[in-house]
């Protein structure tokens, strides 16, 4: 069962890039060497898992998403979510952002579904960011959430295809 694990955020804006750190740790757990660059675009054929990092979600990712059975979206939030490591089963529902180019994971799934009439079973793992200054180092509070997020993602991925 093919899985896409996609992280997004700005690695240079401190906790906004937490998804990169989560992705990096997750890749190591899958036996892949730690990436030394912001660009992560790696397919592990043994596990059928594709790791991908983006600055933000873009509509044309719909084509790529339609090829997967499962997708894990990893991003940062600024405290607006109910928990520090927020876990959500996603649905293909479009929400517009009136003034910005922001595209949510739900919206991307909606586009995927409308164009390709299918979409991967997906979750969002959103990690709380505390500091958004110009740095590639996570704040200590956000850094402490990385392992928790990785564990949640691992658990979800291991449970897929069993039912």
């Amino acid at each position: 069962m093919k899985t896409l694990v996609i992280g997004y955020g700005n690695l240079d804006r401190q906790d906004d890039g937490v998804a990169w750190h989560v992705l990096s740790k997750l890749m190591q757990e899958f036996g892949v060497e730690k990436p030394n660059d912001i660009n992560i675009d790696f397919f592990n054929p043994k596990k059928d898992v594709h790791f991908l990092y983006q600055l933000q979600l873009l509509p044309e990712l719909a084509d790529e998403l339609s090829d997967y059975d499962y997708a894990v979206f990893i991003d940062a939030h600024n405290g607006a979510m109910p928990s520090d490591v927020y876990f959500e089963q996603l649905s293909p529902i479009f929400t517009s952002s009136p003034l910005t180019h922001h595209l949510s994971a739900n919206s991307l799934l909606s586009i995927t579904n409308q164009i390709h009439h299918k979409y991967p079973k997906s979750i969002l793992v959103s990690i709380r960011g505390f500091e958004f200054s110009f740095s590639q180092c996570l704040s200590s509070q956000t850094a402490s959430l990385v392992s928790i997020a990785v564990e949640k993602i691992h658990e979800w991925m291991n449970n897929q295809g069993k039912d």
Binding site: E60, F94, T100, H101, Q114
Partner: protein, 475 residues
Amino acid sequence: MVAQKITIEPVTRIEGHAKVTIRMNEAGKVDHAYLHVNEFRGFEKFCEGRMVFEMPLITPRICGICPVSHHLASAKAGDDILGATPPRPASLLRELMHMGQVVQSHGMHFFELGGPDLILGFDADPEIRNVAGLLAADAGLTVRAVNLRKWGQEIIRILGGRRIHPNFAIPGGVNKALTKEERAMILAGYDEAIETIKIGLKIMYDWAEKNAEDINKFAVLKSGYFGLVNEDDALELYDGKIRLIDSTGKQLEKFDPRNYLDYIAEHVENWSYLKFPYYKKMGFPQGVYRVGPLGRCNNSKSITTPLANEELKRFKALNGGKPVENTLHYHTARLIETMYAAEHVKVLLDDPDILSKDILNTCRNPKSSGVGVIEAPRGTLIHHYWMNENQQLTKVNLIVSTGHNNWAMSEAVDSVAKTYITGPEVPEGILNRVEAAIRAHDPCLSCSTHAVGQMPMIIEVKDSSDTIVKTIKRD
């Protein structure tokens, strides 16, 4: 009646975020509407101390939507400060990447951000007034739109070698030549791109015909127009002279972009962190100007590619040859530029130098400061660097397109609010028009940070004593 204030603002704000305040008078009419941009120029400080050659890799990180514009403006500033003029094939390849950026950015704006207002209607249910609604209304068109953007992105990926943070342009040239196979891959998408843009233009003109009343009362502003042109005053997006015309179309200046500080000054208002650039000789506000697609199409006498040039003639006829003042025609101008960018891709690919391996000038003749200017999709982007003898940056000045258009966006918001809001009860469709006044300029307000880029908006209705009497939240 008690005077009221309506505020539209994001819940959280960080660099570049904005809010709108609409102040109502005691008669229930709009007294004035303000666009406040809470800009923090942290990125310029962040760059100080970095080596000049690093800048084309660092500056794309400012923005996830137009990283290529910063990448290329930065490389151009590097060429200038290091005295390393790129060989012609390198300039062609940079320009090719830039055209890919213009196609993907403009394509996304028209079909996915601005388009739903036009195709589905300002007053359509907000649940469907988006790209998903477009898909439901016309799936074929939306797939075409996604493919258009994808084509632009593919050009960037082929040249930049990776999906994000292109590693391509460097001071003195580029670090990768184009292969015959890559050229063929890009050309394969050309015909469909042209057809999609033609469809977009037809949609725009059909809509304009049916909605002339809206167009003619929606933020029709008098201003100057500013942007790059070539030696014949034709549209130029990568390199040229800056031309500034007044509201009647008369040329005020045509100057080397390196000298921008001789012509531009910035006005400060106490209600916005973002400064208001203006033409120095005329002062503020007489010297305000607009940039971006409307600014450039007004500013250019012609376009060097045939289909776009025909569209420009049609555009210029809208106001009898005088500058087109209607903010909603930003959309028309955007599509004309998309056509130019797509056509220009083929012009570049047909150039005999495009496959050349002569792509880097390694000679250096450094000086203490250098300027790189490019027409980003949203308008003129200026990178100005100062460096020490070790080629470390001591000062950085970035003037981004959204900054140039600050006055235009503020005036558009005020004008639309005054035109459409007739009392404290603001229907959703009217609120959407206020947002559309900003959206028409395609500003880049929150791209640099994803987590706070979602910008939910709160509309607060306040009475004359600043007490909130009503709150509306939009996610």
